[in-house]
Point group: C2
Chain length 261, copies 2
DNA sequence: CAGTGGTCTAGACCACACT
DNA sequence: GTGTGGTCTAGACCACTGC
């Protein structure tokens, strides 16, 4: 790789043993892709440190500043975590301060009842053929095997969230209710540790609905209590959808908090 | 400012004619504050270009790279917009692609009815003394003058959003229903142009609720139709709250879309 | 063409963590 | 002290815009 002429990266393949991308992009973007590749292939595991900036600069034959810019972006995407003086680490859903990164439901200000950790209760966990809508959301063929997990989250003994979770069958082979129930800690941490699947980003669509009879029963509310319906699609590497989740939230002691920038 | 020893910024005031902050912080953070100050004082108006990176570097007696890092952050916060080859501009809510930056309600996939621009209808606009909850949200004293604006937004002739908007009286002196109605374009663009007030970030709390009789009437729904209640607090410079808005959204043809990263 | 932001490098020093 | 990430500089060249 010719350091002073990044535009030649596409043309001069002979001189670029590390990179092979035919399309032009800034060097730091290419580095970013390479690091991403190593992450996806599991060269570095969640929680582990990755090589130092100088090591990576040497490996990829670029300057430390270029590696830095690549890592900066990956850190902003929460794929890596920088710790001054220690190193750069592969991010994990198991860390205390990023637990429930995707859960935006917060207890109302001054509400005592709803404090503390959530109690989880698995309602059931079945393996079945994907219904049409599930298949479409997860980019599977209709009828492909999927897991359906249903659970209730309670805060201070008040059942507050009911979720219907759909997971593709192949990557989650071996999932059972027992395995889910045994686990304390966030579900995404279990996915990471047990199945090597990292949820990187998600998209939620919210609506206000009335509960179905089942939902009303499980959440112990009247049939005409408005609930927040949260449809979440989570993605892993390559923007591959890996989880489809329909949740209904009680909002009598909680609210969905969103920061707009 | 001694370029090679940023740590001395606090000690060596004699050599730092531009900066006077006693507390230590990285140089680029100090530059960021200075640029922010110029923005807030109106030295550069929304839509205008700010001086080039080299000019700013000369003004603040730092290297161009340091200015760059400061501007990078301000651009990520949507305070500035970079345009390669042209310059860096003060961001504005009037630009096409950032209109409705804070409106997360989107038409459902494949919904024809709800396409196109929103029709706005001001229901009323009154000046009155701040109720307790409004005063608290806007960090005013109870009884301070505030404006209350109520309006309905419709999509394809379907009334979809009803909003109750509270604004502090002093900064918005002279606001009238007529002035609001005359305006096409986003309300935040009007605030910018007419009152010199820029909304920089906001925080929304969502709940599912049943409509009040008024709301049901204005949105033309039955009294038991669940609605999405969106409580938004918007901030201007210095994290000063400048608008408190309670909206109720119909979600039969729309959904609230949120990206989680 | 000149002027702007965007990328890349090389080298220096600071702040922090571990040993 | 050594090694890590964090900041800052100076200078080069690239990519885009508009004269």
């Amino acid at each position: 790789m010719n350091p002073s002429t990044p535009a030649e990266n596409s043309a001069e393949l002979a001189d670029t043993p590390v990179l092979a991308s035919p399309a032009f992009s800034p060097l730091y973007q290419q580095i970013k892709s390479l690091v991403l590749q190593s992450l996806q292939l599991g060269e570095w595991k969640p929680g582990d440190p990755i090589p130092s900036e100088f090591e990576l600069a040497a490996r990829y034959k670029v300057s430390q500043g270029t590696v830095r810019k690549a890592i900066d972006e990956l850190a902003k995407n929460h794929l890596l975590v920088r710790r001054q003086g220690k190193g750069t680490f592969v991010a994990t859903h198991a860390e205390q301060h990023v637990q429930f990164r995707f859960l935006k439901l917060k207890p109302d200000d001054g509400d005592i009842i709803s404090q503390g950790p959530a109690q989880r209760q698995i309602v059931d966990c079945k393996r079945l053929k994907a219904p049409k809508d599930v298949a479409q959301a997860l980019a599977l063929a209709s009828g492909d095997p999927v897991f359906q997990v249903r659970r209730v989250l309670s805060f201070g003994a008040v059942p507050t969230i009911y979720e219907d979770i759909w997971l593709p069958g192949a990557p989650f082979k071996g999932l059972t209710a027992e395995r889910l129930s045994r686990d304390t800690g966030p579900m995404y941490a279990l996915f990471e540790a047990e199945f090597g699947i990292r949820m990187l980003r998600a998209q939620e669509k919210l609506r206000a609905v009335n509960p179905t009879p089942d939902e009303a029963h499980l959440l112990q509310v009247a049939g005409n209590t408005p609930l927040l319906r949260v449809e979440r699609l989570s993605f892993t590497y390559q923007d591959t959808p890996m989880e489809w989740r329909i949740g209904v939230y009680r909002t009598d002691h909680h609210h969905y908090l969103n920061e707009l920038n």
